[in-house]
Chain length 202, copies 2
Amino acid sequence: MSGRSGGPEIDQLIQLLARLPGLGPRSARRAVLHLIKKKETLMVPLASALDRAVDSVMTCQNCGNVDTISPCHICTDPKRIASGLLIVVEDVADLWALERAGIGAALYHVLGGTLSPLDGVGPEDLNINSLVQRVETGDISEIVLAVNATVDGQTTAHYITDQLQSFGVKISRLAHGVPVGGELDYLDEGTLAQALKARTNF
Amino acid sequence: MSGRSGGPEIDQLIQLLARLPGLGPRSARRAVLHLIKKKETLMVPLASALDRAVDSVMTCQNCGNVDTISPCHICTDPKRIASGLLIVVEDVADLWALERAGIGAALYHVLGGTLSPLDGVGPEDLNINSLVQRVETGDISEIVLAVNATVDGQTTAHYITDQLQSFGVKISRLAHGVPVGGELDYLDEGTLAQALKARTNF
């Protein structure tokens, strides 16, 4: 019992919402009460938006993005295809983050994670074969490895670089440095050292 | 644009989820990605739970609780009716909180807020008339005013006490005191003074 006194419908809704990241039982209860209070303006639209998403959302067979068509809107955009730029990311959230940053026309490839021998994640568990195939057959001129700056992320970047070496495509990675708006005092030494090494003319 | 690159279905879902209390655009995006990843085990059940809730959830005409029937399960429970105990709360969340506390058989009355002249909330905006009617016609022997210990809450409690004075029903309020597990050092002086005044034998 989630701690309420209506029908099982409300209980079940609370339990399902509590499974979303960032929500727990308490905030799920608050969310359900809010939904009930705003039934016509929020609960009904949310119910139909979810129904539509269940029916239409799929994973792009080409790049791993989520969309309502496959190949997705990004993979079929002539401007992005013409750019020849392919950005490799760990997951869809990273793709969305880069798109929000307005980085210009680029294609993406979603790995679906990082290599992690300790967790039993090998190359065959990630979309690496499909990446190699895309580079082999497509008009890709440059690949940016936009993986996280973690040990697993960097391991994955090295592995992919090895796999793609023979195709003569340019491979780069995101710059390390001081985040915009960041204070030096709060940065770790590794980042500071990298930022100094990669200093640019003012 | 919520910052993604799929169809409008995903965008709309993010925007609606971001309107839930406790969620913002960032956590709504994370929630939607989680839903898409767990399509069969979470997104589909959540969509149908919402559909069922839209169809079935209503406000109890008697007490203001939310349930799938009206009068609700609480109002029609013979054990609760026999108790003669009516607990007045500000909103449904408070009712749920008391039920989780396992306080035993009791009826409830949900006011829907507190009197607040500054915000233009008068007695006619709350379920006070229906409370008076319930006390007038029902077998209520005791009323507990379980409103928040705020100025508005206490004002509301006084107003309700005035309205019910003529019925000769016993009216009490929740005890003030030290929260279970609470440290004295962190409590305000008002609570400490009340807790001392209402001290009990050990």
